[in-house]
């Protein structure tokens, strides 16, 4: 792994590559400032692009934005999502079956950009990046209006090419940190990251959980000591009370995926009800970020 690539990638901005979108796109930094000025934490929902189909998925994202999402995490579906529990696995299957491809995924991001400028992060398994070509993937990510990329199966050890491409195109590279992550690794992760660090709140895969573990609170404190970036907590955050807890423990934001995707899954054939429930739940989750 080359040592110098990750250094101050925080400051990486796209110097000579400004897409026509980028002027209107809000950075994570600005978003966190905006939210903090209101004495709130950031609420960030996660859904899979094209779940259950392209158009409905776009309406879902619109609903999330209209009801208070401060930023978005969008997943590209993968055939073998080893970091995901059944809820996201099923969402991936629905998206793939509805005809989603990498190109359609980027088109989806472009369509989101027609109605919002809030930060959008991509969650993607590394093979989709590798197969397209690392440089090209990041270039297209930038051109289509993404702020950040997090690859669930790409630890810093393997990420030097990705981090390089991220810097070239002004995309934030996000990494995961978990309870099992040693302090030494936290330092490496912080060196290679920009935008924010994604804290995994559970020992396990994605999926709704009934409570936030006390170890999550400890993790927030420990990571804080080794990392200057804003912290967002995800995996298993599924209720307003969880959001409240992690914000209170000092995280800048909370990411909620499976709980929202469960609403999609339960209302597959009743779109109006689905959107209404997602809207309601989003407002509740957002409300819980107020300090």
């Amino acid at each position: 792994m080359s040592e110098n690539i990750g250094e101050d990638s925080n400051k990486s901005t796209s110097k000579n590559l400004t897409s026509k979108n980028s002027l209107s796109i809000e950075s994570y930094e600005k978003m966190f400032k905006r939210v903090e000025a209101k004495n709130e934490g950031a609420f960030v929902p996660f859904v899979v692009a094209g779940d259950p189909d392209f158009d409905t998925s776009l309406e879902i994202v619109k609903t999330l934005v209209e009801n208070g999402a401060d930023a978005l995490e969008i997943g590209f579906a993968f055939s073998d999502p080893i970091a995901d529990g059944p809820t996201v696995q099923d969402a991936d299957v629905r998206a793939i079956n509805s005809g989603m491809t990498t190109d359609k995924g980027f088109e989806f991001i472009r369509r989101i950009r027609e109605f919002t400028s809030i930060p959008i992060g991509l969650l993607v398994y590394y093979n989709l990046i590798y197969k397209r070509g690392i440089d090209l993937f990041y270039k297209q990510a930038h051109e289509n209006g993404l702020n950040a990329i997090l690859s669930a199966d790409l630890p810093p050890e393997e990420a030097s090419d990705a981090v390089k491409a991220a810097r070239t195109y002004g995309v934030n590279q996000i990494f995961l940190a978990a309870q099992t992550t040693t302090n030494e690794r936290l330092k490496t992760i912080s060196q290679f990251s920009s935008g924010f660090t994604y804290l995994v709140s559970v020992m396990g895969v994605t999926g709704a959980r009934s409570e936030v573990k006390t170890s999550t609170v400890d993790l927030i404190k420990r990571v804080r000591a080794h990392n200057d970036l804003p912290l967002m907590v995800g995996f298993g955050i599924s209720k307003p009370s969880h959001v409240k807890e992690v914000i209170k423990a000092g995280a800048e934001g909370a990411i909620v995926g499976s709980a929202i995707i469960d609403i999609i899954a339960q209302n597959i054939n009743q779109k109006e009800k689905m959107l209404e429930e997602i809207g309601d739940y989003t407002r509740k989750l957002k409300e819980a970020t107020k300090k």
């Binding site: 073998d80 059944p86 093979n127 995994v200 020992m203 396990g204 895969v205």
Partner: protein
């Protein structure tokens, strides 16, 4: 990590952050115990007394005569539980014990690795959970029962195509969740570092014995070594001791399914492309976007859309050649060896046998000394073979 786990550019640790500390712990335990005297004494004891090593190197006289070559069989089919898998399972099982892990999980396709793991779990008194695609559970009832009588719990996996690939996904998810007390006993030279290096280490016993045996028998190295390639463990196990002997041709045989043109095959090295699956960069079967596609092979052990990273390396540097054998050819290989030598090979190994026949018949190979790694025995495949031959059993 102490090592980067790369073979050329292949391999690595493409895994979620949660697993990294477990890989670090495993790597350090492996590096510590692989040269530890007590560990190796224990392992040697079990390999000999529990698994039945050493295995023979048997001159297949009738087949040799028929094909005009000297054909030796490395008899991994003689091992306890029926295949070379036990070499690795004993090694990793013992390592799990030395590491103080109190639970073992494994994936299995047809059940061969699951049975070996269940046996070792029973022997070492460590509970074993085996993930198996529900499609495979239905196809391999008898093997499910075998695992269960040894005390293992077989957990059917309902996601994806419900076969080996999905069982591995689910085993990895379990490991992510229970990483502190659980050892994930991967069955082949695949997965993230240190697995490819570690499984290779435990399988090189095949090559070590074989090298000594052929030198005793022939006073010479063989011309060619042929082994089947699923994840790549029996082949790496026998190849590794001959890789530096440039005159020995190494040939890996993949599952050709209905033929590569049909698109229904498991010939990852022959027809796949570079990608990242299950923790390492290697060759994979995938579509243009990098979605992993399903493999197809009559033999469950070759029915996998990935392959161990070291094989991708040996292929790209040209040190080993990779070919494929169709389902139909493999079943003919099964018959050939059964009929001429009274040895029923596993359908995986039958791919190597079938290619050996093809190879021996090429004029330029006349009279060569060929070693076929007979990775397992065919008991598990008798129903399939009977069906192919149109026999009711």
């Amino acid at each position: 990590m102490i090592m980067d786990g790369k073979f050329g550019k292949y391999g690595g640790i493409f895994v979620p952050e949660l697993i990294i500390p477990a890989l670090e712990e495993l790597e350090s335990a492996f590096l510590k115990y692989k040269d530890d005297k007590q560990f190796n004494q224990d392992l040697d004891f079990y390999l000999k007394e529990f698994a039945g090593r050493p295995t023979g190197l048997y001159l297949a006289k009738n087949l040799s005569k028929k094909l005009g070559c000297k054909i030796y069989l490395k008899r991994e089919d003689m091992l306890h539980t029926g295949a070379h898998k036990i070499n690795n399972t004993l090694g990793q099982g013992l390592l799990a014990r030395y590491m103080g892990k109190d639970r073992i999980i494994a994936e299995t396709g047809a059940g061969q690795h699951g049975i070996a793991t269940a046996a070792v779990g029973a022997m070492l008194d460590i509970p074993v959970d085996v993930y198996m695609g529900s499609e495979d559970v239905d196809r391999q009832r008898l093997n499910v029962f075998r695992m269960e009588v040894s005390g293992a719990k077989v957990i059917p996996v309902e996601s994806g195509a419900r076969t080996l690939k999905d069982a591995i996904n689910q085993a990895m998810r379990d490991w992510i969740t229970n990483v502190e007390n659980t050892h994930y006993l991967i069955g082949s030279t695949m997965g993230p570092h240190p697995y490819p290096a570690m499984v290779k280490h435990f399988q090189t016993i095949i090559g070590k014995e074989c090298r000594k045996q052929i030198l005793e028998l022939e006073n010479n190295l063989p011309d060619t070594i042929i082994a089947c390639v699923g994840g790549g463990s029996n082949s790496i196990g026998i190849f590794s001791e001959f890789v530096s002997d440039k005159d020995v041709d190494l040939i890996g045989v993949e599952g050709g399914g209905n033929g590569i043109e049909s698109g229904h095959h498991g010939a990852t090295l022959c027809a796949g492309s570079e990608g990242v699956l299950h923790g390492s960069l290697s060759y994979v079967l995938q579509d243009n976007d990098g979605q992993i596609t399903e493999a197809h092979s009559v033999s469950a052990g070759l029915d996998y859309p990935g392959v161990g990273p070291e094989h991708s390396y040996l292929k790209t540097i040209g040190r080993a050649n990779y070919v494929s054998i169709t389902d139909e050819e493999a079943l003919k290989g099964f018959q050939l060896l059964s009929k001429y030598e009274g040895i029923m090979p596993a359908l995986e190994s039958a791919h190597a046998v079938a290619y050996a026949e093809k190879y021996a018949k090429m004029p330029e190979n006349k009279g060569k000394t060929i070693i076929v790694n007979l990775s397992g025995r065919g008991d598990k495949d008798m129903f399939l073979a009977a069906k192919f031959l149109g026999v009711e059993v």
